[in-house]
Amino acid sequence: MSQATIERADGGPAPVRPVKPPPSPLLIGGVAGALVATVVAGWAIDFSLAPVVDQWPMLTMILEEVVHPEWEEITDPASRLWTALAETAAIAVIATFVGSLIALGVALLGSKVSAPPAVYRVTRPVMSVIRSLPDMAYALIFVAVVTGPLPGILALTIFNIGIVAKLTSESIDAVDPGPLEALDAAGATRWQRARVAIVPQVLPNYASYVLYVFELNVRASVVLGAVGAGGIGQLIMLYFNRADYPRLASVVIVIFAVVIAIDLLSQRLRRRLV
């Protein structure tokens, strides 16, 4: 069909066809910014894939040892591996429980729905600061007081408060305001509002966040031992420093299995909750 045959019903001239607008400057700026950031970052860390080729023999040597793990470590239930793993599990359980309980209270203080402005305006930035430090930094400080599982538990507890309180307070911000208005109209106190109308609404989300940080804690408590905060991380550092790759491999296998098992379990639970 040629263009000339298209005529408007009222017989007037065909309107000017609009030109395709150029991409928004923000999009161009964003993409350009990301590219520049990548070049600068690559330069800052001396990005180079050459070692992959140069050092390949070294890696294959290590992997050769890794594929022959020390099975005795895994099969013997009284081995250091299982003792350390039990410690890691205990650290994760306690830190998740205590941290999540405290976080629920903090979350109520951190939302404008449940707390007066003076309170949540202070709570929110404090939560940001707590979250900005990695769990490792807390562990390093607490290890200075005493070594063993205790600093690990405390570090993860604080880490959990940061995450669960943030996510839960965001859920509280988003609760249906209708029931809150009904409770206000019925003369309820701030605490009654929270217990009756807010907590039941956010409970499934909260439970799902708790399971999520439990997953994170199992992973993190693997690592915390590296700075002396108890658990299986101590073994990782020990075998790494001794270059005992077969034993390291047995640790990897066990951690791998445990993390996958906990992920699957918690995903199933979370799917039922929300």
Binding site: V40, A44, I45, I62, A137, F142, V145, V251
Partner: protein, 291 residues
């Protein structure tokens, strides 16, 4: 009127909640009891000692940058040098987290299309998903010590690659969930118009899932900055290695400066990233709310 109480229904039993609650408490108590070397009796000492350390850290932070700290081997060293060094190393942490995120994004994006139920057949889906789950299950630190440190040596490239590989797993999973949650109706329309697999993805799937996925990349970048601190402990680059050495040496003034740099840079990056994510997801018309 007298109510006929017989027709009132009985309340449902409460004992299941009680049992679950008690079981949870029991698990926690058993966990606590199993830690025979936990030295619980030291717990009351924590507040006082931590406060004391925090005081010393604050002193380091508040001292004039030109002053010379006591007890250091180099008499020329100033607090200002500590600030600059912390900033430089934190910059390195941010850089390696960025590169790691880029590696993760680059590889996870195409792979996710081979793992989503609406874009790939099962014989591709199952292996790709298993791959995502497997690399997600290996903590970065293990990836670093077993694979990356032998390859790249004790430098930031090792950390960046460890974070990158790990990110492929977590970003891949989130991306495939985004792909699966797209509205199927436009896809159906494009298919009805005779589009090929690739055309369907380019015109109907990617436009729908790209904003959420880019937002996840930014979020992952925030997570990776924190993760890079852990890799420092095995000297895979970034601020973590020095932080580990300084805090274990109980150099609280120095450590305080490093922690403040970490806090400020992390919050700054978080705020920028949150604003960008909000802009990507909700467009320009709404105003980002700082967390």
């Amino acid at each position: 009127m007298s109510p006929d109480t017989a027709t009132r229904p009985k309340p449902p039993p409460k004992w299941p909640y009680t049992v679950v609650g008690l079981a949870l408490v029991a698990i926690v108590l058993v966990a606590g009891w199993s830690l025979d070397n936990a030295k619980w009796e030291r717990l009351p000492q924590f507040p006082a000692e931590i406060l004391q350390y925090a005081g010393q850290m604050l002193e380091g932070v508040l001292t004039r940058p030109g002053a010379h700290p006591e007890g250091q081997a180099d008499p020329e060293l100033t607090y200002g040098d500590w600030w600059l060094q912390a900033l430089r190393l934190m910059g390195e942490s941010v850089a390696l987290a960025w590169i790691g995120t880029c590696v993760g994004a680059l590889f996870s994006f195409p792979l996710a299309f081979l793992a989503a139920s609406n874009t790939a057949p099962w014989f591709l889906r199952v292996p790709v998903r298993t791959f995502f789950n497997a690399i997600r299950a290996v903590p970065e630190i293990l990836l670093a010590v077993i694979v990356m440190l032998p390859l790249f040596g004790l430098n930031p490239m090792a950390g960046a690659m460890a974070i990158g590989i790990h990110s492929i797993g977590s970003l891949g999973k989130l991306t495939l969930e985004n792909i699966e949650s797209v509205d199927q109706r436009p896809v159906e329309a494009v298919t009805a118009a005779g589009a090929s697999w690739w055309q369907r993805i380019r015109t109907a799937v990617i436009p729908q899932m790209l904003p959420e996925t880019v937002a996840f990349w930014l979020y992952r970048f925030e997570v990776n900055i924190r993760a890079s601190a852990i890799l420092g402990v095995v000297s895979a680059g970034g601020i973590g290695a020095l932080l580990n050495r300084v805090l274990r040496g109980r150099e609280w003034e120095w450590g305080g400066i490093m922690l403040v740099v970490i806090i400020i840079v992390t919050i700054l990056v978080d705020q920028i990233s949150a604003a960008l994510r909000h802009r990507i997801l909700h467009g320009a018309d709404t105003i980002a709310v700082a967390a």
